[in-house]
């Protein structure tokens, strides 16, 4: 199934809502560490969930450029389009 940027964003919001007990209002500029307080273990849980959702193997090195939900969605879009 083709995933547009908006589809990816929506799925990412869904995963975060499922993963976190208390979720503030999410938007593209939500910072994964500063706003959601994800620690390294939580980030790895998020990566696994996203891998399963999009059938990807996500390299950890791309996370160095990921700060916000928008950054992550854009990286995912690149990976999905490159498949």
């Amino acid at each position: 199934m083709k995933n547009s940027y908006d589809d990816i964003l929506a799925k990412l919001y869904g995963i975060l809502h499922e993963m976190l007990e208390e979720v503030p209002e999410l938007d593209e500029n939500t910072d994964l560490l500063m706003d959601l307080g994800l620690d390294s273990l939580a980030v790895m849980r998020l990566v696994e969930a996203v891998e399963d959702e999009f059938d990807l193997a996500i390299p950890l090195n791309i996370l160095a450029d990921v700060k916000t939900i928008k950054d992550f969605s854009q990286q995912l879009q690149k990976m999905i389009e490159g498949k």
Binding site: D39, L41, A57, P59, L60, N61
Partner: protein, 391 residues
């Protein structure tokens, strides 16, 4: 942002530890009495956190070889393997390691950490993929970063999870380098190498096994986890360290791939580091002989490991999944781990305190590493100390 702001969170964390009266980084061994005892804070203590698996740090033959090398060849090489730092001992040790593992090629590095950095950064590069077990050592993660390759992790010791990632990599799976450890340093569990090899073969990938904690510990000849699992011919690269069972410092890689020799020309951590001192190389060569000729040390190590594992389990402690020379007591709260660690030290038992984020599961550990040189009475005293602390 001020120049040192990056370090501010560490300063705060250190202050928090100091307020609790804990300073694990600055534990000083005032006097080393033997492979298993030291004086710490003026107290005679049993060492059960030193990775000295075969207890060879005070072996007379190793000490004599080390002293002789220092007298005859000096205290250091003062140069890289690529320049003036290759002495006859370095070459001899490479041949002896290749013969020990029955592999065609061997390279000696300056430390085990450098061996991982040197191998991973040279074997793979931008556009390649490295697949690593989530619980791999920091040197493996750093080697992946240095390589510039895409690195993907799979769930610890889960061959099915690894299989799933390889499937998703599609055409890239065939040249993927998989990296696992023989025995994992935090919980002491062994790699599921048979299952991992089966998946590796399914995709035509390559496999590196870090035997840092399993050399001298596993296998009929002490070659490690790959020997124990009967898959030595299926492993492409074995890396390891001289700083645990071999009781010195240094690292190595052995392989049947003739291309290993080319790593000497490609690996910056090999080229731009001074080589191991003659004394470290000489004692390592002696220790390697001992691993081959004294299998009873391995047997003693496992007897001691079983005694401690089952003794701690009987006390109700949460431990790793199987008896192993690495036995970690798992505690949920860091504060409780601090106080237990401190109480143990007061009881004359030195363990390693391991705190998040260095732990795989976010919990805290009192990590024990057993030695063949521990006596049964020492192990009993360690268990008795664990029985007295308030957890």
């Amino acid at each position: 942002m001020a120049f040192f702001d990056k370090l501010r969170p560490l300063a705060e964390a250190r202050q928090h530890l100091a307020d609790l009266g804990v300073d694990t980084i600055h534990v000083v061994m005032d006097e080393i009495l033997s492979a298993t005892e030291a004086v710490i804070n003026g107290r005679r203590s049993i060492l059960v956190g030193t990775n000295n698996y075969l207890g060879l740090t005070f072996d007379p033959a190793c000490i004599e070889a080390s002293c002789r090398a220092a007298r005859e060849e000096g205290t250091g090489t003062t140069g890289s393997r690529m320049a003036n730092g290759t002495l006859t001992g370095h070459v001899a040790l490479e041949k002896e390691l290749a013969a020990f593992y029955d592999q065609k090629e061997a390279i000696v590095f300056s430390t085990g950490f450098v061996a991982n950095l040197g191998m991973l950064s040279s074997l793979r590069g931008r556009g390649d993929v490295i697949l690593l077990d989530a619980d791999c050592h920091a040197s493996i993660y750093d080697g992946c970063r240095l390589s510039g390759a895409d690195f993907v992790r799979f769930r610890h010791n889960d061959a099915d999870h690894m299989d799933e990632r390889l499937r998703r990599l599609g055409d890239r799976a065939a040249n993927t380098l998989i990296v696992v450890e023989g025995i994992y340093s935090m919980f002491g569990d062994q790699a599921a190498l048979k299952e991992i090899v089966a998946v590796k073969n399914k995709y035509g990938a390559f496999l590196m096994v870090d035997e840092a904690h399993s050399l001298g510990v596993l296998g009929a000849h002490g070659r490690g986890c790959a020997e124990e699992a009967g898959v030595e011919n299926e492993v492409d690269f074995i890396v390891g360290t001289f700083s645990k069972s071999l009781a010195a410092i240094g690292g190595f890689c052995v392989s049947n791939h003739p291309e290993l020799e080319l790593i000497r020309y490609a690996s910056r951590p090999y080229i731009f580091t001074a080589s191991s001192s003659p004394s470290a190389i000489a004692s390592t060569r002696e220790a390697l002989k001992i691993i081959q000729h004294r299998p009873e040390l391995r047997q003693q190590l496992w007897e001691n490991a079983n005694q401690l594992y089952w003794g701690l389990q009987e006390l109700g402690y949460a431990l790793g999944p199987e008896p192993s020379p690495v036995i970690s007591v798992r505690l949920k709260e860091a504060g409780k781990a601090f106080s237990c660690w401190r109480e143990l030290l007061k009881e004359g038992v030195y363990t390693n305190l391991v705190l998040p984020p260095a732990t795989p599961d976010g919990g805290s550990l009192l990590r024990c590493s057993v030695s063949a040189a521990h006596t049964s009475e020492q192990i009993s005293r360690i268990i008795a100390a664990f029985a007295t602390i308030s957890r």
